[in-house]
Symmetry: D2
Subunit: 138 residues, 4 copies
């Protein structure tokens, strides 16, 4: 797979900062989720449309390394790539960089899967197509 | 160390649920943070007061395993214990259980530290007292 | 109508505070919404269940008077009553009081209605029953 | 005053939608706040910097008319203008329009003031300059 990086630009919004004057820890998950959904959309995978069809993309595990805090006024971007870690599991590797100095602020690995209405693993065709067949054979 | 468990009760609020009808992934970090702060407060450590003194308790790493989703109406509780993993690092082990069946919904390890105004590690006395001296010798 | 007051207890969570060290303005709407939903639930009206049936309770207008800010550690309660302002409109009168001194922190009037899948006003029986017939005749 | 309109572009993020599949009511206040802060910044007024100086811009009253709900994928913009309604009060008139059809989704009037560390009204020079002297005389 060509480790194509999808990138999305953001700016910190003041309501995202907490009493320490920095972006609250939970908010980074919002940034990461929005970037994943925009990344998927760029591949023709619409999270909201799938949810309406009762196919739910869900997170199984999140690992987040907080390197430096974002604060009011900071512009930043989120890089995202995805690798298939099993037939029904996908690892999103996501990094958040501050724009003015390209400093790494947060590194994350988010493992997700796709489930049907009964909560059973179900990978729709649009997602299968996301991964070249060769990849799993590696 | 006596693995004393601090427990806090919650109920899902509908605004915490997303279009999948389940609690959004980022919201669990809110639950975990609030429980940590209440746990610390029960030990005489006031996060907000420390922040006003420019001593900031910060998260370095978060690992969250999403087992089952919480949904509208669910009552749940968060168990929390803390272990000192280095002179200036603390691991909070936190589990979220659904009340009606005590089912584990999320397991997390949140690693934090304490920094002063210049962002340097600084562990105030109130936090030092949290950990028995023997523990580090282990 | 007997101006029965429904009351729900809360405690400020630190992630709800912003860089000014006080609860962010938008968060009060979360408190109010959660209280409305618990109020409705106490009357047998389940917001989430209605949403699944494609009957959506929606807000048409919100008026909020911010009197004093809530801050970290504050316990508070939200009083709620509802009056029917037209055949398909309901005004929730909600007040937030700080617990330690019963001081009024916020007063709100939230006007809502109920719509069906096509977005047309539709008041299900469970809601009709909420209001005594005499009330509209007034 | 020339009713100059400040405009900021947004796109709905999926985590902002609730179980009804539409943007949660409280989130509009986030959009409005972020737009006000960007508007002020464009005038040289930095909300975060003022907060660090213990000068707090606070909201006294919010009126929000919800016209149509924003939903997943919607792009929108927020128009903002401000008028001085008394020596120490400012009314922000803000409208949210969906981009694809310029449809009005929400209209709001947010009344704010500026207070010092003791919570007393205090309007710093940067804000005084925002309003031409003639305006109050009207």
């Amino acid at each position: 797979m060509d480790k194509e990086l999808f990138t999305l630009d953001f700016k910190v919004r003041d309501y995202e900062c907490d009493m320490q004057g920095i972006v609250n820890n939970s908010v980074y998950q919002n940034y990461l989720e929005h970037t994943r959904h925009e990344f998927l959309l760029s591949k023709g995978i619409d999270f909201a449309e799938l949810a309406r069809q009762k196919i739910n993309l869900v997170v199984l595990r999140a690992e987040l390394d907080y390197k430096q805090p974002l604060t009011s006024g900071d512009e930043f971007y989120v890089d995202t790539e995805v690798v298939q870690s099993s037939r029904v599991r996908f690892d999103f590797l996501q990094n958040i960089y501050r724009k003015r100095d390209n400093k790494l602020m947060l590194a994350a690995k988010i493992t997700g899967t796709s489930v049907n209405e009964r909560g059973r693993p179900f990978v729709p065709d649009v997602i299968v197509k996301l991964f070249p067949q060769e990849q799993l054979a590696e």
